[in-house]
Amino acid sequence: MDMNRRQFFKACTTGLGASSLAMLGFSPQPVLAETRSFKLAKATETRNTCPYCSVGCGILMYSLGDRAKNATAEIFHIEGDPDHPVNRGTLCPKGAGLLDFVHSESRLKYPEYRAPGSSDWKRISWNEALDKVAKLMKADRDANFVKQTADGKTVNRWLTTGMLAASASSNESGYITHKVMRSMGVLVFDNQARV
């Protein structure tokens, strides 16, 4: 029977696969084979783009939950997007491992602080972290901002704090980051394009 992916999923949701008949072994092979489709059949499918290289492969992410307000989504499968004109559903080893990136044990969860000379992290709240960063930046800007050079040129620059911006962050994030940092007179400012 010729059907595309979406038709197949739909057919499988109405199939016998998860019924007790199948579980007790009273159904023929093809029905038992259907059970594999259930992993994705009830999932929410979301389009995204692989964050690694600049081919920008289309990916499909499958998550639990139906996007209701109190349903916590969790991504449990990622594969290539067959509709994408460039990668046509394929992924390389990096993209194919994306699920393990999303769920990496190295994922940061909470703001942390390391004091001068300390050998440990201390967990802090967002409020404390953001206040600290804002105060440190403002104090440095107030103390070191250069309005004019010694020979009277207006330069309005702040050279003692710099930033490296993320080349995997979105255009929207990059845009607001540039707007904010430049408004403060920052010139020590680059992203991975520099290297």
Binding site: C53, S104, K138, K153, N156, L164, S170, V180
Partner: protein, 814 residues
């Protein structure tokens, strides 16, 4: 890329050099496979190593790391000597006919205007001769000895096949075979595409390497055509986006530039960037610079940017020099910097000369790290034994580490290498308390702004005047931000007065408040706002163009104009008017792209031309003042109007074979070298082997060592050496070895391979040590030494991109 990924299938010849697409861009490489399968295309690979791309090639030629200009200069010489150029394209679409003044000269590897003490050039002797009509003088016969064509011929006449073989170590027959493949595409109905990446950018002569290849492509007529182009394969998923948005020391969004401190006068600043045409009737699209600049300042400062205050010119910081990453860490080492924010970037792993990076960070008062993963940089202060041997108690830097979302946990757009802006959607919330990057920046900003409002401080105006009308000030939505960089009309945008009826009311092109359809609507009178002019058109009144998902390819050449949105104005192949001859007829009827029907341009792409401009008058390279592409660059390049081979700063040779008698021309005479660093470069007697860093297909930089499946496929660090070097040093496959440079050492496993052969460079045997760079001291893979422990702290003369790809090391059994 001038072209895009799918277009590669239209090529007849694919040259992969300075990159390794099969390894690093595998899903993009499928289009090379398609070109071979369906277009009888040939893949040629030139690389110090027999890479995975070489394994897929029809022909592979080796070359010594860092000698690409010599190789490509040799190709240019071959093309000119054998008359394998696309004559009409060269005459009409390049500056080959332009005449230089008699002030230009070149001798012993140095161009006219060199200042040795400053290590820089005064480019005034490189300019065109200007006629009485104020335009550049041209010689259509290309016979004038001072015309660019003749100067080019003379310059590369030194790059004979014998010289190429001597410098690059490439066997002469192999070099000539590559030339034959390349030369076959000089025919108007054959196209070659060049796919390159960090193997060209990461050199002290990197920009000129790319220039040489671009010049080769122009001589062949391969720019602006389907299956042609200069295709830069960028590194990250949105490095193109961040470049376009200008998050670099000296840029503003859309490749606008910050003022230098000598530019105190706003009119002068704008005038120097408003490029007037150097030939009659040419578009010189940067003539519209004022419209882009004023619209940006309105986007950022709103009503605080007025004509009276020069659109808030003083709110922009002015440069005294470039503050690129090497400069930043040089300053940190001198104790001149206090704070640093590392967002999604891991300098301890990614920057050259790890010891210098650690020292720099240790001198800071505060370091803020924003990342989804726990990186080496965030823990630079922790002792990890030999992998990071630091004195924790004596590092006084305060570190604040903030958890951010990853791609799967946000909405937004990314720009791929083909300039496509693709919107993506959030699939799940992030772990723990992680926040979106835009939210983190917004939170920091509104707190700083509140502090200025409350207690005042130094020059608060640009901060307090910054436009910030987002519905949730501490969480600007991606939609609002995209609409802001697209731009909108602040007042009605009017059509220019009708010359036949000047008193008639002007038509309203865009009513006030509406999103702009493109940058063609931008004005310099304050009536438009636009955060990034080249992105104008991404979110129009019709909605989010980046979210479009129509993958139909009606012309059959891979032009999916309905999928996402590319800049500029959804154009997929840049300079596409060059795919037609000066009458507007396509050079190759089999590979039609755009054409002129006598009245307008049209075809399989958005024409890169004023729609009604006649190709008899207006040339395709609309962004240059000349209207044509530049084989010779009169201004803008720090290290010369023409590429010239120089040795990498750390070379296995003691003299530059092209200019052996002139020590000034050993390495790039115009590259910046910090005080004390020149003496610190390794010498061949201590470090005799050429070394180069590179990537594996299973890993992405230092991220995937945190990812189980990737760590499993390539768990452990190794270096690669050829069989001959292994035998010489008594190193067996699998032995532990120590690789040392003048900056540090790493201990790891040796892979002995046939993939790297010794090269004969004019009698000097050069071995290469290959160093994949994916390991470090954080993650789930096996612990490894950061490869950048070894690399040199010097960069390209134009971009300051570090010379990771060519330096010297020594190696012995550990």
């Amino acid at each position: 890329m001038t072209n895009h990924w799918v277009d590669i299938k239209n090529a007849d010849v694919v040259l992969i050099m300075g990159g390794n697409a099969a390894e690093a861009h595998p899903c993009g490489f499928k289009w090379v496979t398609e070109a071979k399968a369906h277009n009888k295309a040939r893949l040629v690979v030139v690389d110090p190593r027999f890479t995975r791309s070489a394994a897929m090639s029809d022909y592979y030629a080796p070359l010594r790391a860092g000698t690409d200009i010599a190789f490509l200069g040799g190709v240019i010489n071959y093309l000119l000597a054998n008359d394998k150029i696309q004559h009409e394209y060269v005459r009409n679409y390049t500056n080959a006919t332009f005449v230089l003044t008699d002030k230009y000269s070149f001798a012993d590897g140095i161009f006219s205007g060199y200042n040795e003490a400053k290590r820089s050039y005064d480019a005034s002797s490189w300019g065109y001769e200007i006629g009485k009509d104020g335009f550049a003088v041209v010689d259509p016969t290309m016979q004038d000895p001072r015309c660019v064509f003749q100067v080019l011929k003379k310059h590369y006449s030194r790059y004979t096949p014998e010289v190429v073989s001597k410098v690059c170590g490439t066997p002469k027959e192999a070099f000539l075979k590559v030339c034959e493949y390349i030369a076959s595409t000089s025919a108007p109905d054959r196209a070659m595409t060049v796919m390159y990446a960090l193997g060209w950018t990461q050199h002290s002569t990197g920009t000129q390497m790319i220039r040489t290849a671009a010049m080769m492509q122009l001589l062949l007529g391969n720019i602006g055509v389907a299956g042609g182009g200069m295709n830069a394969l960028r590194g990250h998923s949105n490095i193109q986006g961040l470049t376009d948005l200008g998050l670099l020391s000296n840029l503003l969004p859309g490749y606008l530039t910050l003022p230098r401190e000598g530019e105190q006068d706003y009119e002068g600043y704008i005038k120097s960037r408003t490029l007037k045409p150097l030939r009659p009737n040419q578009v010189s699209y940067w003539q519209n610079y004022p419209k882009f600049h004023v619209s940006l300042m309105k986007a950022w400062f709103g009503n605080a940017a007025t004509k009276e205050n020069n659109w808030a010119f003083d709110y922009l910081p002015k440069l005294d020099r470039n503050y690129d990453v090497l400069q930043a860490f040089e300053l940190m080492g001198q104790g001149k910097m206090n704070g640093y924010i590392c967002q999604g970037f891991n300098p301890v792993a990614s920057f050259p000369h790890k010891a210098k990076i650690i020292k720099g960070l240790s001198n800071l008062k505060f370091l803020v790290v924003i990342d989804p993963l726990a990186t080496e940089t965030s823990e630079f202060w922790k002792n990890f034994g030999p992998y990071n041997d630091v004195d924790t108690a004596n590092i006084k830097t305060e570190v604040i580490r903030l958890p951010s979302t990853c791609f799967a946990e946000e909405d937004g757009s990314l720009t791929n290498s083909g300039r496509w802006l693709q919107w993506h959607w959030k699939g799940a919330p992030p772990p723990g308390e992680a926040k979106a990057d835009a939210d983190i920046i917004a939170e920091i900003f509104v707190r700083i702004r509140a502090l200025y409002a409350k207690e005042g401080g130094t020059f608060p105006e640009p901060v307090t005047s910054l436009t910030w009308t987002y519905r949730l000030p501490r969480s600007p939505s991606p939609e609002e931000l995209a609409m802001e960089y697209n731009g909108k009309a602040l007042a009605d945008v009017l059509a220019p007065p009708d010359p036949k009826n000047p008193k008639a009311p002007q038509a309203v092109l865009v009513p006030a408040g509406q999103q702009l359809p493109s940058f063609a609507m931008l004005r310099d009178d304050g009536s438009t706002s636009c955060g990034c002019w080249i992105y104008s058109g991404a979110w129009t009144q019709a909605g989010n163009q980046m979210a479009r998902r129509d993958n139909s390819d009606p012309f059959g050449i891979g032009q999916t104009l309905g999928w996402a949105w590319s800049w500029p104005v959804n154009r997929r192949i840049l300079y596409n008017a060059a795919s037609a001859d000066p009458t507007g007829k396509p050079w190759d009827p089999r590979r039609k792209l755009v054409f002129f029907n006598g009245k307008t341009w049209g075809g399989a792409d958005v024409p890169d031309m004023v729609p009604t401009a006649s190709p008899q008058e207006v040339h395709p390279f609309i962004m240059t003042a000349e209207g044509v592409a530049k084989l010779f660059v009169p201004s803008g390049m720090a290290d010369g109007p023409l590429p010239e081979h120089y040795e990498p700063f750390e070379s296995p040779l003691t003299a530059n074979p092209l200019n052996p008698g002139n020590a000034k021309a050993f390495s790039n005479p115009a590259a910046r070298v910090f005080k004390g660093d020149m003496e610190a470069f390794g010498k061949p007697k201590d470090f005799p082997y050429s070394a180069t860093t590179y990537r594996l297909t299973e890993h992405f930089h230092y991220w995937t060592k945190h990812v189980d499946s990737n760590a499993i496929t390539q768990p452990q660090q190794f270096v690669e050496i050829g069989e001959e070097l292994a035998k010489e040093k008594g190193i067996a496959h699998g032995d532990m070895v120590k690789v040392r440079s003048n900056r540090g050492e790493i201990v790891t496993v040796a892979v002995v391979t046939k993939r790297i052969k010794a090269l004969d460079c004019g009698g000097t045997k050069v071995h290469t040590v290959g160093i994949p760079n994916h390991w470090g001291f954080k993650g789930v893979a096996k612990m490894g030494y950061l490869a950048n422990t070894l690399t040199p702290f010097v960069g390209d003369a134009n971009t300051q991109t570090p010379e990771y790809k060519a330096f010297t090391v020594n190696i012995e059994k550990a």
